[in-house]
Symmetry: C2
Subunit: 352 residues, 2 copies
C-alpha cells in the first residue's frame, strides 16, 4: 500500500480560490486514495464548500488564514502583508514544520517563490532555486528550467539546474537516465554566452551521474531532443511564453480559416475529434505545474487561471515528487557534485 | 517610374545554389521590373543556367568567383578561405564599392555576418550590428531584433536596436510611427535584467522620435502587441527557434491526428483549403529574410534551405529597404540620438 502523502493547499490561490481548489482536490483524491489535505484559507467559506465534497472533507483539515495574497501583489508586498497570516505562507510553513510533504498553490508566482525562499531556504550547496516547467514535445514531455526564478544564472548555477532538472525527470517520467542539454544558440563551439559554455565544460568534465548530451537550440524544445533542457530564467521564461503564444496564434489562424467557407466548416466538424486530440496534447492544464526546485521542501505552482482539472494535475505532480523523494535525489546528486568540484560548492555551502 | 535598384546576388549561397537563386531572381524580377542583378559565383554554371531565364539574363551581369562558402563553414574559416575570392565576399563588396544597392545571400549566417562586418563596418555611433527577423503575428507582421548577431547587448546597444528596428518597420510595413517594445519577463518594474531596465529608462527619457510602449513578454510576439520587439541576440534567437519549433510541433500533431480515422481524413480533405491558408500564414518563405542592420550598407540573408519562392521574398525585402532608404533613416535617427545622449554615443563614435 502506498504511504500517506499530506498535501498543504493554499485554498485561496488562483482566480477562483476555493471554488476551483476544492473540486480539484476531489479529482486528485479520486486518483490517489493515499493523499490527505491541509486546507489553508477563509475557514467559513472552505467549510461551507466542503459539504459538496464529502470525500475531501473526510481527508482534510481546515486551517483559517486571515489574508489571501492577491494575484497582482508584488512579492515584497505579499511578504509584508502576508507573512505568517496568509494562506500561502501557512501552506508553505506546513512543509517547513514537517506537517505536510508538499505545498500546492495557484497563487501568484513571484509571491509564492519569495515566501518559499524565506520559509524553506535553499538546499545546502544550492545558491538559487529554479522553476521547472513540464513541456509537451513530439516525443512526450520534457523538463525545462529555469523559467523565471533566477535571472542571469552563472555556470555553477546552471550545473545545479541540470542536477535538479534531471532528478525531476526521473521522478515524473520514471526514466533512469534522462538526457540533459544546455539551451544555446548554435552547436558551434564559438557560439553562446560565457556562462553557458563554462557550464557545458563542467558538465562534460565533472563526470556527474548525468547524461549530458550537449547544446540544444530553441527548436529542440518542441522536438523533445533531450529530457531536460537547462537555461537561465530570463531566456527560459521568454521561450516558455513564446511557445504558448505561438500555439495560441496557430489555433487562432486555424479557427479563422476553418470558419471561412461552408465546406471547411463541414470538414472541421468531421475532423473535430482530431482537433480535440491536438488540443489535449497542447492543453497546459494537463501539465499544469511549475515546480519549485532547490528548496528544502517541495512547492508546486499551478496556473492562476486554471480550473479544477488543471489544479488536480498540479496535485498529481506534487504526489509524484513526494513519492519519488525528489529532495533526497537532488541532495544525493549535490553531494556527488561537492566531491567532484570542491571549489565553488564548498564556498556556497560554507554558511550552511 | 521607380528608380533602378541593383542587387548583388551570392549565386552560390543556400543548399541549392544557382538552381534556386536564378529562378528566385526571375520571380522577383517579374514583380519589380526596376531591378537588375549582379550575379557572383561559378560563371560557367551560372551562364549555362541563365539560358533558361532570359528575362534575368537581360538584366544581369555575371562575375566569376573561385570559392563558394560552405553552409557549415565557421565564420573564421569562411573569412580565411573566402576573403576576396568567394561569391559571398564579392556580393557584399559590390555594395561597399557602390556598384550595388544591396546584397542578398542564402549562405550561412555566421559567415555572411562576419564578412559584412569586415567589408561594410558598422554605422557611425553603432557598436554592433543586429539581425532582424520578420515575425508573423495575429495582427500581421512585426520586426524582432536581434535574433543572433549580438550576444549580451548592453542598454545602449538595445536603444540602437530600437532605432534600427523602428526604421525597418517604417520601410517594410509603410507605417509612420511603428510601436516599439522591449522583450522582458514581466511588466513589474522589479523584473528583468539590468540592461533591459536601463534601456527602458533611456527609451522613455531620451525623447527619441520613437513610439516606445514598454515591456512586452514572449507571448506578445505572436499577438503582435507592438510593431518592433527589441532584445539581445541570445534570447532573440532562442525565441525565434522556439516559435518555429512550436509551429512545426503543432503541425505534426495535427497531421497525426487527422490521419487517425477515416472520418477525420475526409474532414481534413474537405478543410484542405483552410489548412493551406494557415500554412501560407506561417510559411517562413513568405517572410524569408533575416535583415542585417547597423552596417554601412544593406545585406539580406535568406534561409539556406529556401526555394526560389522564398529567395524571391528575400529580394522583395531588399528592394523595399533600398527604395525606402533604410540606411539614411537609421543615420538620421542616430544623429538625433547623439544630440540627446552625448555620452555613450560620442564615445562609440569617437573612432569613426
Amino acid at each position: 500500500m502506498a504511504e500517506q502523502v499530506v498535501i498543504a493547499l493554499d485554498a485561496m490561490g488562483g482566480d477562483l480560490g476555493p471554488d476551483m481548489v476544492l473540486p480539484g482536490a476531489a479529482l486528485a483524491l479520486s486518483r490517489h486514495p493515499n493523499i490527505e489535505f491541509k486546507l489553508y484559507g477563509d475557514a467559513p467559506r472552505i467549510r461551507s464548500l466542503l459539504s459538496q465534497y464529502p470525500a475531501v472533507a473526510a481527508k482534510a483539515s481546515v486551517h483559517h488564514a486571515e489574508i489571501a495574497v492577491g494575484m497582482e501583489d508584488k512579492p515584497s508586498q505579499a511578504l509584508r502583508r502576508g507573512r505568517r497570516v496568509s494562506s500561502m505562507w501557512q501552506a508553505i510553513e506546513a512543509v517547513k514544520r514537517g506537517e505536510a510533504h508538499v505545498a500546492v498553490s495557484a497563487g501568484n508566482t513571484g509571491a509564492l517563490m519569495a515566501m518559499a525562499k524565506v520559509i524553506l531556504d535553499t538546499m545546502p550547496g544550492i545558491d538559487r532555486p529554479a522553476i521547472a516547467a513540464i513541456w509537451p514535445t513530439l516525443r512526450g514531455e520534457s523538463i525545462v528550467l529555469d523559467v523565471g526564478a533566477t535571472i542571469g544564472a552563472d555556470a555553477d548555477q546552471l550545473v545545479d539546474f541540470a542536477i535538479m532538472g534531471e532528478a525531476l525527470a526521473r521522478c515524473l517520467f520514471g526514466i533512469e537516465r534522462p538526457t540533459v542539454g544546455l539551451l544555446n544558440i548554435g552547436v558551434e563551439e564559438i557560439k553562446g554566452i560565457e556562462q553557458v559554455k563554462e557550464a557545458a565544460r563542467r558538465l562534460r568534465e565533472l563526470r556527474l551521474p548525468i547524461e549530458y548530451i550537449g547544446f540544444v537550440e530553441g527548436d529542440d524544445l518542441g522536438k523533445g531532443t533531450v529530457d531536460v533542457v537547462v537555461t537561465e530564467g530570463f531566456t527560459g521564461n521568454i521561450a516558455l511564453k513564446t511557445a504558448e503564444g505561438t500555439a495560441r496564434q496557430l489555433t487562432a489562424y486555424l479557427k479563422q480559416a476553418l470558419n471561412r467557407t461552408l465546406i471547411a466548416r463541414i470538414g472541421a466538424y468531421m475532423a473535430a475529434g482530431a482537433f480535440e486530440a491536438v488540443r489535449e496534447k497542447m492543453d497546459p492544464r494537463t501539465r499544469n505545474g511549475g515546480v519549485f526546485l532547490g528548496l528544502n521542501g517541495v512547492v508546486v505552482k499551478s496556473h492562476g487561471g486554471t480550473d479544477a482539472f488543471g489544479f488536480a494535475s498540479a496535485i498529481d505532480v506534487a504526489v509524484d515528487m513526494v513519492e519519488n523523494r525528489i529532495v533526497e535525489k537532488i541532495a544525493a546528486d549535490m553531494a556527488v557534485k561537492s566531491t567532484l568540484s570542491p571549489g565553488p560548492v564548498a564556498e556556497a555551502g560554507a554558511g550552511v
